[in-house]
């Protein structure tokens, strides 16, 4: 399995936010996306998940069979952990995780209990999700990646709200995922300790789209 981007560009409204990004990740590879606030890290990650359309370039998840070059199809093999945790406050932690496990239809993930142990929250399974603190909620959200097994993790500021020990736990989980042949793409300000991760530095662009052409805001 390879996850490849070939000079992709993404627009947000009339603004070009991501310009000519390319990477190629094989099994066990990790990519950290860095850059200042507003540099387009989240936009890039959402585009990788097919949540934003590409303005140019191609994405390819080689080795998943039919639809491997259409993000709208291959995204079922991706896990996206965005800024929000995608959990329902009214349901218990166990109900939330069981739903994502069953709905994603992928087998081979961890048991819910094992996943909660992995983030050191073995005692919260039956609590309503809304009772948890910010950091605990984030750790439960991380469990979603564990209970249903998907080869590619795309995580956006995964450690926001986590204390240093929990961040270290998450780094360990990412390393384990890579060692298992998975791919991790993380946007982060803090180093995730992923060892030989590739780094992609995003730069804020000043390019606007007008009519059919792009012009550079700095030169105009």
């Amino acid at each position: 399995m390879r996850f490849e981007a070939d000079s992709i560009s993404v627009n947000r409204g009339l603004r070009r936010v991501v310009q000519d990004v390319s990477f190629s990740l094989g099994e066990g590879d990790a990519l950290t996306v860095t850059g200042a606030n507003g540099a387009g890290k989240s936009t890039l990650l959402r585009a990788l998940c097919g949540l934003l359309p590409l303005a140019a370039g191609t994405l390819r998840l080689a080795g998943v069979g039919e639809g491997e070059d259409d993000p709208l199809i291959f995204r079922e093999h991706l896990h996206y952990l965005g800024p929000q945790n995608a959990m329902k406050a009214a349901l218990s932690v166990r109900e939330n995780l069981a739903f994502w496990r069953d709905f994603s239809g992928s087998s081979g993930g961890m048991a819910i209990k094992a996943a909660l142990n992995a983030v050191e929250l073995p005692h919260v399974a039956d609590l309503p999700y809304s009772y948890l603190s910010t950091g605990m909620k984030r750790r439960v959200a991380i469990c979603r990646l564990l209970v249903s097994k998907k080869p590619v993790w795309i995580v956006d500021e995964p450690t926001s709200g986590l204390d240093s020990h929990s961040s270290e736990l998450f780094s360990g989980l990412c390393r384990a995922h890579c060692a298992d042949g998975g791919i991790v793409i993380a946007a982060t300000h803090l180093p995730l300790g992923l060892g030989k991760a590739q780094t992609l530095e995003m730069k804020t662009l000043f390019t606007f789209f007008e009519g059919d052409e792009f012009f550079d805001g700095e030169n105009a």
Binding site: R12, R46, C49, G50, L51, L52, R75, E76, L78, Y80, G82, P83, Q84, N85, A86, M87, K88, A89, A90, L91, E95, A98, F99, W100, D102, F103, S104, G105, R144
Partner: protein, 219 residues
């Protein structure tokens, strides 16, 4: 998909009990009509089915604002669309769950409210049948409006404004079929079948429109 259905129903029943809210609103609408019209029982009995229909129509618009806005707010929408299920099917299941917890209770409450309005037993049965056939269409059309409104911060009222004009045919054929059951020369079957057709039509078009909307507003 079974997992989604049970999750939707559990969330709806637990968080603020949307089902009960709809029935209470229905009760409120039904209660104020006699104050406006006066205590003439014959007149109430004659227009009762229409009052029941309007009450149920307005009540079934409640809660639609949460259908997608909540999913977008807590980030679940992204994860929902990234699963190996067609988005239209996801929306269809969400509509079904929404109808089960907020449409079905309205129909079950109709006999009680019908008695309050002096509607005959036959009239109550006709209203229940037409509501059962017609309220799913309101949910399906409302889902498309909810998808539009979910991209906006305060979209709740917009849903009612977008949905009401589109469900007028449902209201017309619902009332026509009810009157057909009650008054002899009018037909019941023909408008009832058209009502069913409207529901089927909305069942395809509503989720399709909603899925297009959600896909294009995934910013």
């Amino acid at each position: 998909m079974g997992a989604l259905l049970s999750r939707e129903i559990r969330v709806a029943l637990r968080a603020g009990s949307g089902a009960l809210m709809g029935v209470l609103f229905f009760l409120a609408v039904v209660t104020v009509f006699p104050f406006a019209i006066g205590p003439d029982l014959n007149q109430l009995g004659r227009i009762g089915p229409a009052i029941l229909w309007i009450g149920a129509l307005l009540a079934s618009l409640l809660g639609l604002d949460r259908l997608f806005a909540m999913e977008r707010e807590d980030g679940a929408l992204d994860a929902l669309v990234m699963q190996p299920h067609p988005l239209m099917a996801v929306i269809l299941v969400k509509c079904l769950a929404h109808w089960l917890v907020s449409g079905l209770p309205l129909i079950l409450a109709t006999p009680l409210f019908g008695i309050m309005l002096n509607v005959s037993p036959l009239g109550i049965a006709a209203v229940m049948a037409t509501l059962a056939a017609g309220t799913p269409a309101i949910t399906f059309i409302g889902a498309a409006a909810a998808a539009v409104a979910s991209a906006l911060p305060r979209g709740g009222l917009l849903i009612a404004v977008l949905t009401l004009p589109l469900v007028i045919p449902v209201l017309i054929f619902g009332i026509t079929a009810t009157n057909g059951a009650l008054y002899d020369p009018d037909p019941f079957t023909a408008p009832f079948l058209i009502l069913l057709a409207l529901t089927l039509f909305a069942g395809v078009l509503g989720p399709l429109a909603a899925s297009l909307m959600l896909r294009h507003s995934a910013e």
